[in-house]
């Protein structure tokens, strides 16, 4: 206990560590505030869209039930909001939500012309990204760890305390390990406090997700402490230790993800997205010139339940129009499937390449648990497609059988409800994170052995002329 107190005092004695931790806490506060602002803003926009929609629906309902306007016209003009509501962890781990179109207005027309729209964003802000807790844990936490522990051996060596420490019972290496352990404990307490406060301030439940995130955070910390251990074992001087740690950080955080991204962009480049939009437009436009009765028959093959609808006349008929819209979606379907296939392959490859770099792996774990990654986005878009099908079913029933639309009919108008997917824990990623630490420990073990103790150089000359 005495030793614990003294070691703690030693650790806390420098101004560097105090400034670093103050900075860390300040950025955490900013991150929590930012995340909260963003999520609240999204919810506000969504609510205003909902109120707007209910008002528009009421207006259209009045016009349609009076016979003032046709139901088809309502399908053309009425915009229904769909929103990718923020999952509970989004305030802390915002992921890629700042790239995505989070609220969309859908109408009955062909979906392919609507679903690929993009959000209005300042791209210069997107280059750097959003400050959230995931950024702080992934990028800044290793730097704090490096500041605390990378120069443990070098400091002792430089101040000539190392021979004394090494001569004590229980070798010098044990002292350094104790200090590494102490640093780990300190940061664990700090990060747990941060997460606990974050969870209390938001409405996140303390469930399996939270436990998983804390577990992966501890493993990630352990990884970086083992990198510190590696640097200590190499027995470098202060400058080399610092620069070595920063170099390791740069390689793992900037260079490896960068190279993997370059590879992925090359390997999975696709223009299927453009192909499908062009195809959809071409089909819809050509439809105006083709035989309408034949085209409607084509549609009825996909929807045989409406086969006994009244035959088309010479005048413009809404049911034909929307049938063509759907057929244009179907015409673009091969391209869409190809597009989705390539995106899925890219996502899988990106997942696997993330194993090469512990920070990238950790970020992947966080965004996957928080459901703010590519998978969650893809899931939301599938739900939008499903909803569009529901909308079409609502309208088809009333367009193909020319009944008068009543209030009861409009009351059945489907609304989009976002179903968050069941959380899947990325156990494989966690395992690989653990493996990365084990690999580093193995390297340390390889370097250090009884026959090769830490160097005992005497640093009275300048560090550079060695």
């Amino acid at each position: 206990m005495q030793r614990f107190k003294y070691e703690l005092t030693l650790l806390w004695s420098g101004t560097g560590i105090k400034l670093a931790l103050a900075f860390y806490i300040a950025t955490v506060a900013i991150a929590l505030w930012q995340g909260n602002c963003r999520v609240l803003n999204e919810a506000e926009v969504h609510n205003s869209l909902q109120t707007n929609f209910e008002k528009n629906l009421a207006d259209w309902s009045a016009k349609v039930t009076d016979g003032e306007a046709e139901l088809g016209l309502m399908g053309y003009y009425l915009l229904t909001p769909t929103a990718h509501s923020a999952p509970t962890w989004a305030r802390l781990i915002y992921g890629q939500r700042d790239l995505d179109l989070l609220q969309q207005n859908i109408r009955l027309l062909a979906l392919e012309g609507q679903i690929h729209a993009s959000e209005i964003n300042n791209p210069e802000n997107q280059i750097t990204g959003f400050i959230d807790l995931a950024f702080i844990f992934t990028y800044l936490l290793p730097l704090i760890i490096g500041l605390m522990c990378a120069t443990l051996y070098a400091n002792e060596q430089q101040t000539n305390r190392w021979p004394l420490l090494n001569a004590l019972a229980g070798s010098g290496m044990a002292v350094l390990n104790y200090r590494l352990g102490l640093g780990f404990l300190l940061l664990t307490c700090l990060n747990s406090a941060v997460l606990a406060i974050a969870i209390l301030l938001t409405n996140i439940a303390f469930d399996a997700c939270a436990a998983f995130i804390i577990g992966s955070l501890l493993l990630y910390q352990f990884f970086w402490f083992s990198i510190c251990g590696l640097i200590i074992r190499l027995g470098l001087n202060t400058a080399a230790s610092t620069l070595g740690f920063i170099a390791a950080w740069m390689v793992l955080v900037v260079i490896v993800p960068g190279m993997s991204n370059l590879y992925l962009t090359h390997q999975y480049a696709t223009d299927e997205g453009i192909a499908l939009t062009l195809k959809q437009r071409q089909f819809m436009n050509d439809a105006w010139d083709k035989d309408k009765k034949l085209a409607l028959d084509n549609f009825l093959q996909h929807y045989p339940q409406y086969a006994d609808t009244a035959p088309l006349g010479e005048a413009f008929d809404w049911k034909w129009y929307y049938a063509m819209q759907h057929l244009s979606d179907l015409a673009a379907l091969p391209h869409l499937e190809q597009y989705h296939a390539i995106m899925n392959k890219r996502r899988a490859a990106s997942d696997h390449l993330a194993w090469l770099s512990a920070p990238l792996n950790f970020q992947q774990i966080l965004t996957q648990v928080a459901q703010t990654d590519m998978t969650a986005r893809h899931d939301y878009l599938l739900q939008v497609r499903h909803y569009h099908a529901q909308l079409r079913n609502f309208y088809y029933a009333r367009l193909f059988y020319k009944t008068t639309t009543t209030e009861a009919d409009i009351a059945q108008y489907p609304r989009f409800v976002y179903q968050p997917p069941t959380p899947t824990m990325p156990w494989l990623h966690l395992l690989v994170l653990m493996l990365s630490s084990i690999v580093v420990l193995a390297i340390i073990n390889n370097i250090g052995s009884a026959s090769r103790p830490l160097p005992q150089r005497y640093f009275w000359r300048s560090t550079r002329s060695q």
Partner: protein, 478 residues
Amino acid sequence: MNKIWKISCHELKIHARNKSFYILLPLTQVLIIMALVGSWRYVQQSIHIQTLWQQEATRQWQEQPDRHPHRVSHFGNYAFRAMTPLSFFDVGVNQFVGNSIYLEGHRQNSATFAEANLAGNNLRFSQLSAANLLLIFWPLLLIALAYASITEERESGRLRQLLSNNLPLAHFLTGKILAYIIISLIFLVPIFLCGLLLALWSSAPFTNDILWRLGALFLLYFCYSILWLGIILCCSLLSRHAQSALTFLVVFWLLAVIVTPRLLGSLAPNIYPHPSRVEFEIALANAIARIGDSHNPNDPHYAEFKRNILRQYGVQKVEDLPVNYAGLVMSEGEKQSSLVFRQHYHQLINTFVQQNSLKQYFYWINPFLIARAISMKVTASDSQHFYHFEQAAEDYRFTTTQTLNELHTYEVRASKDKTQRISREHWKKFPPFFYQTPSLWWSLDSTQKEFLWLLFWLTLPLLVTHQLTRTRNIYATI
């Protein structure tokens, strides 16, 4: 001069003795050249694909059969954005902005299929372009090389001897910085030669503009190196120990290069909020509805418009007009809606410009922001160039739609408005969409602040050392 040269040579010799110097520097150069080549292949592929799609879209437009012009305006056209030729050097915002815009009548669409939407979260920080590596990684390398250059002299006692031998401190410092300038040149020149070769070999035509841009880039990164060398050597001069100089420099580098840009990017929308896509579209629709609804026969704006047209042609009824009234209404509607859109769009762009200008308040303390801004402008890969493209696409859309509306007015008889089709030869007369990257002078148009601060940073070390020389406040003692 001789003395300065001797000091530089001594400094270079020290580095030449260090084995890791011969590994680290070439390795970094290879990494940057790999990034260059990788990005170059990607940019070539993108230019090729976008050109093909543009040709396809033009072909689909020109091969339309006889049609009613309003139908053609709904058929629409596409504008495909090819990356600017020098994007292989600095990818800028290219991954985050869309690649294709659908141009149709009545509506302005957004650019879709941005690369980032396919890639997800890997991209931030790790857009491994040559510019990124030079802006982020190269200063770290310089810090590693030069942090102890003056503290080493002081700790070994050489500084005291040199100064006591009547060597002016200014000469000493000039010698030191000259050595590192030579190292920077050895580092930068092969990279830029490689860049030049790639630009020559590219499928885009190698114009004078590209040559100027490459020259400007080289000058920029050279100045950036000198700037960092000034900071590093000043720190080295002012610190007692090498370790404290290193710690200060590394912390400064981290804050300037990693933390501040992200912080500013994240805070900017809080200070200057911009509307989301749906809010923008709703505001636009409301503004257009306020002007008038062309489908509503009792609408006051269009009633006024009808009166003016009738007066202009000197007739009493719409049916007596020599031209198609429906076409005139379409023209008017398009004009009004495009006017409103432009107002809203320019407001949005101004908000974004304000958000970006937040960085300018930090130029005095962060050289990275200055260099990155200028680098993106010179390689024509920043957001202003994207808005230039969007504006060009919108202008093209407006001109095309209004020409079609004119055809509707003058070629289509009002009595046969629903069924008449005009000859397909008309579609061939429309010029295809062609976008020209603006010249270097346009790109650098609003960078006065950046250049001023760059000059400030370049002269700051001079001022500091001048001040030091005068007060003789150098720790020449061990």
